[in-house]
């Protein structure tokens, strides 16, 4: 039985890690880009960001003033059990989100969409989002927090089989060009692409591809992995860099996830996970042991299964 107290304490640590520490995979990717960026303004921006990560860590303050919208992904091993059950788990995550907002501090971003009511704690109707996944074995749960930032860089379009790969490529470019102007997507970003599913699951797949896969990760389908590489190169060849200045730093990495869709359609979504790619992960075991990491490792073979039975 995993104790509620361990969950709440771990969640509090994760909230801070996500806000303050840039994950190593993203940092390595950005350093590699900074080495080859030859646009003077774009290069200045990358250097300033690298310095900013250092300062955030030294001062233990959030990397970015827009600390995003905290959300939770919970992965449960099939043999795990939680003290108080799922309702207690959700309360613990909401408490951790609220208390971290004032203690770190985070920006209280979450408001009522119509009345703009702000509880000053990032908690409200449907906030933080809590999503679930399961794994066939294990007496552990993974807590993953993502503080996704930005109002820009995301789009959805219903394409059709006859649009083909060229149509996918065009929508990918359109998304980068439109949100890359003036740097509204806070690029260079991890670009997540969802293809297929239905409108809602397509958006979910793309967002998870951006936020729950790390830089350097490849889709296990070799043809999709090739597309990921091709799209990354394509995005970095537009001629646009950080903040929409002349340069080549748009895409730190491109991750594509697919889901089976209606036979007549080919849904596509594009998501940008920004220069402050805030994610932090911990696995809590039944024994009470806690292991921290930055790779959510969400997309296991089980999550991508195609078969009826497992």
């Amino acid at each position: 039985m995993i104790s509620l107290k361990t969950i709440e304490n771990t969640a509090a640590v994760l909230m801070k890690k996500a806000a303050v520490e840039i994950p190593n995979d993203y940092l390595s990717g950005l350093k590699a880009m900074a080495k080859v960026e030859d646009g003077d303004l774009s290069s200045f921006v990358l250097q300033a960001m690298l310095e900013n990560y250092e300062v955030a860590k030294e001062d233990s303050r959030a990397m970015c003033g827009d600390t995003g919208c905290p959300r939770w992904y919970i992965k449960m091993g099939n043999e795990s059990s939680i003290e108080g059950g799922p309702v207690a788990l959700e309360s613990a995550l909401r408490r951790a989100t609220a208390s971290a907002t004032s203690s770190i501090p985070l920006r209280p971003n979450r408001v009522h969409p119509l009345w703009r009511t702000d509880h000053d704690n990032n908690v409200g109707i449907g906030a933080p989002e809590i999503e679930y996944g399961f794994e066939p074995e294990g007496d552990w749960i993974d807590l993953i927090t993502v503080h996704k930032g930005g109002l820009f860089g995301t789009d959805y379009r219903m394409l059709f089989p006859s649009d083909g790969i060229q149509g996918i490529k065009r929508f990918f470019l359109d998304s980068l060009v439109s949100f890359g102007k003036r740097g509204l997507a806070c690029q260079p970003a991890i670009i997540g692409i969802g293809i297929g599913g239905s409108k809602d699951s397509c958006m979910v797949l793309g967002k998870r591809a951006a936020c729950l896969r790390v830089v350097g990760d490849k889709n296990p389908d070799p043809k999709i992995a090739e597309l990921e590489e091709e799209f990354k190169e394509l995005g970095n060849s537009i001629g646009m860099g950080a903040m929409g200045f002349v340069g080549k730093s748009m895409v730190i990495d491109c991750n594509i996830e697919v889901g089976y869709c209606h036979t007549g359609g080919m849904q596509m979504s594009v998501h940008a996970f920004c220069l402050s790619s805030r994610r932090a992960v911990a696995r809590i075991y039944d024994t009470g042991d806690v292991e921290y990491r930055t790779d959510p490792n969400w997309f296991t073979a089980y999550q991508r299964r195609e078969t009826v039975e497992w």
Binding site: M49, R61, L159, C186
Partner: protein
């Protein structure tokens, strides 16, 4: 590391002289000293169309208008903790900025992504105001370091922490880039024009989507704000 042209770095008071402003060029790197106040949707509507009065103890013309909500908190004893500060996208404030500058006479607007050259020509140039963009976005921790003190917080109860007006004392607060100079030139537009020259090439071989959207443009050279 690829060799770079060095950008000009300048320290500037938030209440600068006309001469100091005239010397700035788009693309210069600026660090600010003085007073910065946050004002976005709710402050603009509250002051310009509602019943909020700019507090008289604060000479707003000496402050820079920052399109921002800080990651900050006020404790029960009234003290503050302020971590990171970053800008929010400014193009959304176009409908208020003219009247705001007229009323406050602020000489510096700081934000994300700039505003349109039309806004600059209509509202910034006549008031001799420049626009500085944050870098990144955002170098929130670096900017947080530049905040020496929260001087005051207005309308927390009415507007909430994120939309309230924070008045901040800043020192070596930056970096920012000059996006709009005193003549209304725009750094983003200059860069956008350069990138647009080659944009068609990257699209070669792709096709427009079979199902169109109403109002869709296929010209990537268009500005979107």
């Amino acid at each position: 590391m690829v060799s770079q042209k060095t950008l000009t770095k300048i320290q500037l008071n938030t209440c600068p002289t006309a001469d100091e402003l005239a010397e700035l060029n788009i693309g210069d790197v600026v660090y600010l000293n003085g007073l910065v106040y946050t004002a976005r949707e709710s402050v603009y509507t509250g002051v310009l169309d509602g019943d909020l009065e700019i507090p008289s103890e604060f000479n707003i013309s000496e402050g820079a208008n920052f399109h921002c909500s800080p990651a900050a908190n006020q404790h029960e004893d009234g003290s503050f903790s302020l971590g990171a500060v970053s800008a929010t996208a400014s193009f959304r404030f176009s409908k208020w900025i003219g009247r705001w500058l007229e009323k406050t006479k602020s000489k510096i607007v700081i934000g994300k992504g700039g505003m349109s050259t039309n806004d600059y020509a209509k509202h910034f140039v006549p008031n001799k105001t420049i626009y500085l963009t944050t870098v990144g976005y955002g170098t929130g921790a670096l900017l947080g370091r530049g905040v020496k003190k929260v001087k005051s917080l207005y309308w927390k109860k009415e507007l909430g922490l994120a939309q309230a007006m924070w008045v901040l004392e800043v020192k070596n607060f930056g970096p920012f880039l000059v996006e709009c100079d005193i003549k209304g030139n725009s750094l983003f537009e200059r860069e956008h024009k350069k990138i647009s020259l080659k944009i068609d090439k990257i699209y070669e071989g792709t096709r427009p989507a079979i199902l169109k959207r109403l109002g869709e443009t296929d010209d990537r050279k268009d500005e979107l704000i």
